[in-house]
């Protein structure tokens, strides 16, 4: 017996009797003999609960827990205990996609709340139930622009995070979409390099961009709309609380990563992407959308809607193949935003803005770093080191500190979060100075 199999010998016999089979093997007669496995699997013997506990703790112990000054798409955010306590309730955790709405109102309701919060943060009209991550969400936004404009070239700013760019390129290749880069000048998208052309389905920019720089996309927005293309802004979740919204730049689609809103780092996943758009593009949007309706008794209720766009109805003609998304992570973000609320998000983003500038100023003051760009920034910034950055980072690791990401030769990308305190920064500076 094993704790996950309840079958006693007697049960098996009784069940076989009802089925009319001699033994379980008989039930597999459809599998040709030459395809049936003859050997045991080459995997380890079963571990007991206590052995598992020991083994996993040992593996976890091989991962170094660090004081993190690195971001580049994943941020050392704090998860309030309420978020983990509520999102791990079995009713949320162990349910499937809400195909039977009468017994899935819990999931459907939080999807509705999630969509509402995303539309509120982005300023756009409609959001879906979540995407895999910020990068795939941006690639799907490109597909929407492709379907809407029937044009084959997408413009992407060079200031975008290179991982997001890689994912965009992967997706573009198979749809025969050309990816054309807009050069960067002084850390921002160089609008003056753009030529007049109506071949563009749209432009993808990021805010804050890869270097943490906050760009003003007004001119790009006007320009791409004049060319008949769409504006797609990739914007990180936390920054939506303080920076200018995609809607105020007249973005047609906003996409991005929400990990910074209380989702644990977990070595890169599970995170959660969002996608929001205008009413005009709503029916081109991939993924699930939840709407409000009533039941036969007139009670307010929630239901998956506009399913005629989706794969299980439209098959080859669906506008996306997405079915499972990151629902539980969307729930976490919804609970997080409920707790933090209007005032909390303001306070935290102001803290992050202040702390990043404090770190910047103090690093420059050490004399070991010089600025790379002179632009407004939020949370992250790039500095050129006058010391060997690799050696510095190795030294910091010995003090359990994760230093900046080296994005090009001796240029480091630093990040803070709402967890970063004045003391953390001073300690970091102390170690950097000690390295000298």
């Amino acid at each position: 017996m094993h704790k996950y199999f309840p079958h006693t010998q007697h049960d098996v016999e009784e069940m076989l009797k009802v089925i009319g089979a001699k033994n379980i093997d008989d039930l597999f007669k459809a599998i040709p003999k030459d395809l049936q496995i003859k050997k045991d699997y080459n995997i380890p013997l079963a571990l007991s609960d206590i052995e598992l506990d020991h083994h996993l703790n040992e593996l976890a112990g091989k991962n170094q827990i660090l004081k993190i000054f690195r971001g580049a798409g994943a941020y050392d955010t704090y998860t309030p205990s309420v978020v983990s306590a509520l999102s791990s309730r079995q009713e949320f955790l162990t349910s499937y996609t809400p195909y039977q709405p009468e017994v899935s109102q819990g999931t459907l309701q939080y999807i509705f709340e999630f969509q509402s919060m995303i539309t509120m943060l982005t300023g756009l009209n409609v959001a879906n139930a979540s995407m895999y991550d910020g990068a795939t969400s941006t690639a799907e936004a490109m597909f929407m622009a492709n379907a809407h404009t029937k044009k084959n070239t997408i413009l992407v700013s060079e200031t975008i995070n290179p991982s997001i760019l890689e994912v965009i390129k992967t997706y573009a290749r198979y749809k025969k979409i050309n990816v054309k880069m807009i050069p960067m000048k002084d850390g921002i998208t160089d609008i003056h390099s753009l030529d007049q052309s109506n071949d563009y389905m749209g432009v993808i920019v990021q805010n804050p961009n890869y270097y943490g720089i906050v760009e003003d996309y007004t001119n790009i927005s006007n320009w791409i709309h004049e060319q008949g293309g769409l504006l797609i802004i990739n914007q990180d979740g936390q920054s939506l609380g303080i920076l200018r919204s995609p809607a105020s730049f007249k973005a047609d689609i906003a996409a991005g990563e929400l990990q910074s809103l209380g989702v644990p780092l977990s070595f890169g996943g599970a995170y959660v992407g969002y996608l929001a758009t205008t009413n005009a593009l709503m029916r081109k949007m991939p993924g699930r959308i939840c709407g409000v309706t009533t039941d036969v008794d007139g009670k307010r209720a929630f239901v998956l809607t506009l399913q005629a766009r989706e794969q299980h109805i439209r098959r080859a003609k669906a506008n996306s193949n997405i079915c499972s998304n990151q629902s539980l992570m969307a729930l976490s973000v919804t609970i997080y935003l409920s707790l933090i609320g209007k005032n909390g998000l303001k306070e935290m983003t102001q803290h992050v803005l202040n702390a990043s500038h404090d770190l910047y100023t103090k690093l420059i003051h050490t004399g070991l770093f010089e600025p790379v760009f002179n632009q407004p920034f939020y949370r992250e910034f790039a500095l050129k080191a006058r010391v060997d950055l690799k050696a510095l980072n190795n030294y910091l690791l010995t003090h359990n500190i994760l230093g900046p990401l080296e994005i090009e030769n001796n240029v480091g990308l630093f990040a803070v979060t709402e967890k970063t305190t004045l003391k953390d920064i001073n300690n970091f500076i102390e170690k950097v100075v000690a390295f000298k």
């Binding site: 199999f5 309840p6 049960d11 008989d26 597999f28 459809a30 496995i37 609960d49 040992e58 976890a60 091989k62 991962n63 660090l66 050392d76 309420v82 079995q90 009713e91 955790l93 162990t94 349910s95 499937y96 009468e102 109102q105 819990g106 309701q109 939080y110 709340e113 509120m120 300023g123 991550d133 991982s163 994912v167 992967t170 200018r244 780092l265 070595f267 890169g268 996943g269 939840c290 709407g291 309706t293 009533t294 009670k299 209720a301 809607t305 794969q311 109805i313 669906a318 499972s324 629902s327 539980l328 729930l331 409920s338 707790l339 909390g344 803290h351 702390a355 500038h357 407004p376 980072n393």
Partner: protein, 480 residues
């Protein structure tokens, strides 16, 4: 389950807060006003207890696998062990940054490497990538691999993917998204591949065939080797949709059947929680000749431990980092908890359970495929339909009896499909209770058909007006 329909926004009251945050004495920085948020931030203002009560009440409107039996066909709703959740939440896994040096994350890389290796062994494939986030994402990557392979061979006119009409909807959708044309071929009556239809569809424009085995009607493709041979002879590749792998554990490996590319759903076969629709994990696996095309980055083992490497011929990156680590970590724990002695019992017990339900109810419900089934099977509605009680009604009435409904109206090859998948974790007692409920419903359908047609009666809400919802969509709070 209770009815509670307040939205968090409706609890909001000015000044209330649900957080306790302290900032330090930093100099206040202000960005230029053209870069700052202009609109008010209308997030809820609620206390911590408001949030706790609200989401607790919201959760109570949901049915989970811990609530009761969840026989949703092709979804493999098995128990999600608690120890997996607990150990996956260790700080050593949760607090590590994806871009910290690999030398400081060897425990995490061990999990990636070993999960990859064990999945390869269990399915007979050469290697997997865990970077794909869900089954459909694995399909997309798998089809991109197919494209990359043909492109590398300069076989540019292979633009067609063949999909049987019994396939999951994601198959044709993924093929479309990956830029292929889709040809659907008619299946045999039992949903298996019609060899003549396949032969007629094969030519030098075919990139490959996508197949689920056992198929969506719970039937094993006994001609699978012939099917694979025919596709290979025509120069195509064969893709395995792993949604139904649960049936095969302990019995057969897709790799032995001639499949070149597979995806698995760890949130089905390997017990990771579905989370109300994700996060899933959909690793994509390949045979040896296709390894170089797997998504970047790859994990490799060196003398100095594990590290990541990019392959030149790779289809590229399919996500920002390495997929849903916290999800496949649970699958890793699950596989080890069963081990070599037990994991091979999954298929046999799952198949035993499905056949037991099938045999116990076939005198009341139409059984279109009269043979042993694999891990799931399809009833085509009631035998006695004199009162016009439909599959939808039966499904809704099951909710009243405390069971989740089966998958309904799928596969499309039958008009009243009820696709039932019990999984190996259910006891005879649970199955008997479910069988009893379906017997009672069959009886009610004749004696009190209106009761069944208007079910459910006891759920937090009853049947919904889906038409109005789609005609004038209200999809956010401000639309109300």
């Amino acid at each position: 389950m209770i009815y509670y329909d307040k939205l968090i926004f409706e609890l909001s009251k000015n000044e209330r807060i649900g957080y306790h945050f302290k900032s330090d004495d930093f100099k206040t920085v202000t960005l230029p006003s053209n870069l700052l948020r202009m609109e008010p931030l209308d997030l809820p203002e609620v206390s911590e207890l408001d949030v706790v009560r609200h989401y607790t009440n919201v959760s109570k409107k949901n049915f989970g696998i811990d609530s009761n039996f969840y026989p949703l066909g092709s979804c493999t709703m098995k128990y999600n062990p608690k120890i997996n959740d607990q150990l996956a939440s260790l700080r050593g896994f949760q607090a590590i940054h994806p871009l910290q040096p690999t030398s400081t994350a060897q425990g995490a890389l061990h999990v990636i490497y070993e999960t990859n290796r064990m999945l390869s062994e269990l399915t007979g494939m050469y290697a997997y990538s865990l970077n794909t986030f869900a089954g459909a994402h694995g399909e997309l990557a798998g089809l991109m691999i197919m494209r990359a392979y043909h492109d590398k061979n300069k076989d540019f006119n292979r633009q067609t993917i063949i999909v049987p009409d019994s396939a999951h909807g994601t198959n044709p959708a993924s093929a479309s998204v990956a830029g292929f044309n889709v040809v659907e071929i008619k299946s045999n009556d039992d949903g298996t591949v019609n060899i003549e239809a396949l032969k007629a569809a094969l030519n030098d424009t075919v990139a490959g065939l996508m197949l689920t085995n056992p198929n969506t009607a719970g039937v094993f493709e006994k001609d699978i080797k012939l099917v694979a041979d025919l596709v290979h002879e025509a120069g195509g590749l064969v893709y395995y949709d792993g949604a139904n792998l649960n049936a095969l554990l302990g019995k057969a490996k897709p790799g032995d059947m001639g499949f070149d590319i597979t995806h698995l759903n760890l949130h089905k076969t390997f017990s990771t929680p579905h989370g109300g629709g994700g996060p899933g994990s959909g690793p994509v696996g390949v045979s040896e000749k296709l390894v170089e095309f797997l998504p970047n980055p790859h994990i490799i083992k060196t003398d100095n431990g594990y590290t990541f490497k990019n392959f030149e011929d790779s289809i590229g990156m399919v996500g920002s980092f390495y997929g849903n680590f916290s999800v496949y970590l649970r699958a890793y724990i699950y596989i080890l908890s069963l081990g070599k002695e037990n994991i091979g019992k999954i298929g046999p017990y799952a198949v035993l359970n499905a056949n037991y339900i099938q045999a116990s109810l076939k005198h009341l419900y139409q059984l279109p495929i009269k043979d042993y089934c694999m891990h799931e099977f399809v009833f085509d509605g009631l035998i006695d339909q004199s009162t016009h009680v439909k599959t939808l009604d039966i499904a809704k009435r099951l909710l009243d009896y405390g069971f989740h409904a089966p998958t309904i109206y799928f596969p499309l090859i039958f008009s009243q499909s009820m696709m039932i998948e019990p999984t190996e974790v259910e006891s005879k007692e649970t199955l008997d209770a479910f069988i009893h409920a379906l017997k009672v419903i069959a009886e009610e359908a004749i004696l009190d058909p209106e009761k069944v047609k208007h079910a459910p009666h006891t759920t937090p809400v009853r049947r919904l007006d889906e038409v109005t919802a789609a005609r004038s969509p209200k999809v956010s709070f401000k639309d109300l």
